[in-house]
Amino acid sequence: MNEITTWVREVFIIILSITFLEILLPEGSMKKYVKFIYSIVIMAVILSPILHTLE
């Protein structure tokens, strides 16, 4: 139960920070690629407990 709470908290914080960064940083031609990297990061965070249990 503690692990699941930690996981939810991590997803929450990552998505808030990334939305914040999306507004601030990307300006210019690199915008699309940075957004794609953000999506990959969020997917990795959502998948992280499964990777932990596989170890």
Partner: protein, 360 residues
Amino acid sequence: MKETLKKQLENIIDTEKTTDLSEYASHLTGGISDYFTLDEILHATLEGKSIFDQPQLIESLKDLLLLEVRSAMVISVEILGICIIAGLLKNMSGSFASKGVSDIASFVCMISIVGVTILHFNQVYDMTLDAMKTMTYTMEILLPVMIGILIAMGQVTTGTIMSPLLLTVVTAFHHIIKNIILPAVFFSAVFTLLNCITEKDYVNQLAKIIRKAALYGTGLLVTLMTGIINIQGLITKTSDGLIINTAKYSIDAFIPIVGGFTADTVELFLTCMRSIKNIVGLFGIFLILTLILVPVLKLLVIAAIYKLTACLTEPVAGRKTAEGISDIGSVLITLTAILFFSSLLFILFITSIMKLGGSL
């Protein structure tokens, strides 16, 4: 007749515990469970009247409903206020110096909407946990009373086998709901709100899957536990019927003169006990129903107000926010369904015990 039944009732069961339970429930349900106490049910059973014959019952229900609606409106007005400010900022985004500033401002408004909603949802969630705990507490007090009556009626095998089984199942059910299913619903609500902050759908499917899994899990659990109890009851019931009938025939056949009278007295005594068991069972069912009435009503009213707020904020704040608030209403309806399933399970348990002793 009524006095005899009443005296037997006080002899057999611990009326202190049931009065304590009635008072505790009356405090929680705002006076509605006072219409369904043990005395009232006894009175109605013996006079042959209907138990729902009270005009004040409908009045109290209406008062309760209006109170809940009024307290839920406050939240709706808060969310509407914040959404209007957010909409204003978003639509004025062109007239500020840089686009980033107004984007950050609307982001902050979204976060404050999410904050207010989560606080309110936390209160509602705590109330649901409380309702589950009270129902389990009621069952844990009522079940030993009813099993005691079963054993006194001669159904010894049923009583001895069912008593630990029922208590274990009730406690296990409460444990699973409190530690797995209800937290899952809470996480689903958190993800739903998170999804409405961002522009792109990041965790929408995750939230929906967790919520549906919790609901189906509860249904499966209820089916499983009812199946266990009923199958076990069927097996022990046949063995008990044999024992009782053998005992009755032996008394009648082997005791010379007073055998007939004794057997008939035993039969009358068993019928009396059966009525007492059914009365206590009815009391338990009404108690659980009234205990669940207030939380379910509150949850449904708050869900309706959330949906209404979603309708009102859609033109002002945009599609994502309105969808998020509407989905929180759906999460609340899922909570209602879970509460309803658990009350169904407890009522099925009580009815199974009432049926096991043979119907009158």
